[in-house]
Amino acid sequence: MMTGMQRLAAAINGTESDRIPVFCNLLDQGAGALGMPLEEYYSRGECVAEAQLRMRDKYGHDNVWSLFYVGKEAELLGCRKILFASDGPPNVEEWVIKSLDDVQRLQVPSDVSSHPAFEEGLKCLRLLRQEVGGKYPICAYLTASMALPALLMGMEKWMELLFLGPAGVRDELLARCHEFFVKELLAYRNAGADVLVYSNPFGSTDIVPRKFFLEHSLPWIEKDVRAVGTPGLVYYCGMSRMNPVLATVLERTGIGVYYLGPFDDVREGKEILAGRALTCGVINDIRLIDWSREEIRREVKRIIEAGRPGGRFLFGTGVMPCGIPEANIRTMLEAAYEFGSDENGRIR
């Protein structure tokens, strides 16, 4: 049997494999797997690693995560308050930037790896590497320069600053976020993360107008990518659509993997990428809460049938909500394994 890493490599290189790679992004479910409250769970890197390994063993998907929750990035930049829930992802509770003057005061840590808020993450990465390094891709999550301010001041205030200015403050903040992004990415890469999910809702024309995308989002994306190189990078717009910008992003950045939104047409995405990059077809996982077994199977089949022909395809989920019943997770994964391989168990 092939490992997740081999499947991913085969999909990227367009070579033979036993099935398509399947990414199932289970985060908060880890606390349940260990029977502990979320807050305690996320305070200990070894717990997160342990749960990631257990869940991968249990469900058989091809990736593990070093991400705790996205708000961690705000903690690295000075946030001291996170709101924990019992049944969903933790959220930033205190804005690091409360007024525009705070932009000047924003401190980018000189070394992310040695920052206390990174310690447990490092511990988790070390354990994952030790247990499944080279066998199963270890994923890390990185918020792009342009999206990071949303975690520091809230989406509302950031949209105001981004679109209405003052431009000087906006650019200063973007520059600091870029500096942080580069340091954070390198810290993850050094610690052994293989798949670096570059998350940027502002890289989708669902969120910003095309003109704005070309004049503002794209230059910052190029800057981010140029500074860190493309190895391991995955273009992801937070489940928003990306087909309208795929060709441009590929040509301008050379990123090799695109994690489409669930409302993107998978066939169209593949046509645009035309074998030049890996297409990831993504299920609308919020619907897994309610869908019947038949509905889940039909949807997985639809996505894989659209994406598999010609290879260079991966099936994946978003950040799976806790409310999805375990049986539905299994149904989805079993369908993905089934439709993602041939009867003789090999695909090209």
Partner: protein, 239 residues
């Protein structure tokens, strides 16, 4: 400039998210004899509606535009309302204690709106608020992380026939301290016929069926549609 011409140029200003131009057009129209009431009901509201019909159909319209146009429309409406000949009154009997002016433009009713308990996201709520205000629906903003009890006590004390709950995450949308609890409280207090619940936020756009699961009366996918659905809810409310 006549009304149809004004609608066209105002829509363009809104589409270009040009706040100054939109405000200038509205002011000039009033100077030329178009009433502020006409500006709101015959220009701002239809123009705003046009924006969101396109949203989702073409990729050119998007969140940023929806945000900016809603802010501009709300600003124009606010300025026009201050110039109304008569104070706006509510139509319908749902809200007591507010004088009715027979020929005054109607405020269709009042809404209390907030983000669900455990939810700190504000952008969706802000857009909805602005759209509702632009559509002459009075709103009281309860802020973020609002406990279910507070939604109900505020709706009662402010005589608002509609509670609007915004949630950006699945667990705050479906959780036991969100809409489900608000429903239970309304039931317990015998308020179900008098107060309706509308929900919205990202999870509902990904899965509209969630709305039934949490026993909301309605949901809407954006600020403009929210105005329409809420207007319908006002009519369903028992006096």
């Amino acid at each position: 400039m006549n009304l149809p011409q004004l609608i066209t140029v105002f829509s363009e200003a809104l589409f270009d998210t040009d706040r100054e131009r939109a405000l200038r057009l509205a002011r000039e129209a009033v100077n030329e004899g178009i009433t502020p009431e006409e500006v709101v009901f015959d220009v701002v509201i239809p123009a705003l509606e046009q924006q969101t019909t396109a949203l989702g159909e073409t990729l050119e319209l998007n969140l940023a535009q929806h945000f900016l146009t809603s802010q501009i429309a709300a600003a124009v409406t606010e300025e026009m309302v201050s110039r109304f000949q008569r104070a706006p009154a509510f139509i319908g009997q749902g809200v007591a204690g507010i004088p009715r002016f027979p020929r005054a433009p109607a405020l269709t009713g009042r809404v209390v709106i907030g983000s669900a308990q455990g939810d700190l996201h504000t952008l969706g709520k802000r857009i909805v608020l602005s759209c509702l205000r632009a559509q002459m629906i009075e709103c009281s903003d309860l802020g973020v992380n609002v406990p279910p009890e507070r939604f109900v006590t505020e709706a009662v004390s402010q005589q608002a026939p509609v509670i609007a709950i915004s949630a950006m995450m699945v667990h705050t949308a479906l959780g036991e301290n969100g809409c489900l609890k608000v429903r239970q409280l309304l039931k317990e207090q015998g308020l179900e016929g008098r107060i309706k619940i509308i929900v919205g936020g990202a999870p509902f756009r990904f899965d509209p069926q969630l709305c039934q699961r949490i026993q909301a009366d309605a949901w809407a996918e954006d600020g403009i549609k929210a105005g329409k659905v809420i207007t319908k809810l006002f009519q369903e409310v028992r006096p």
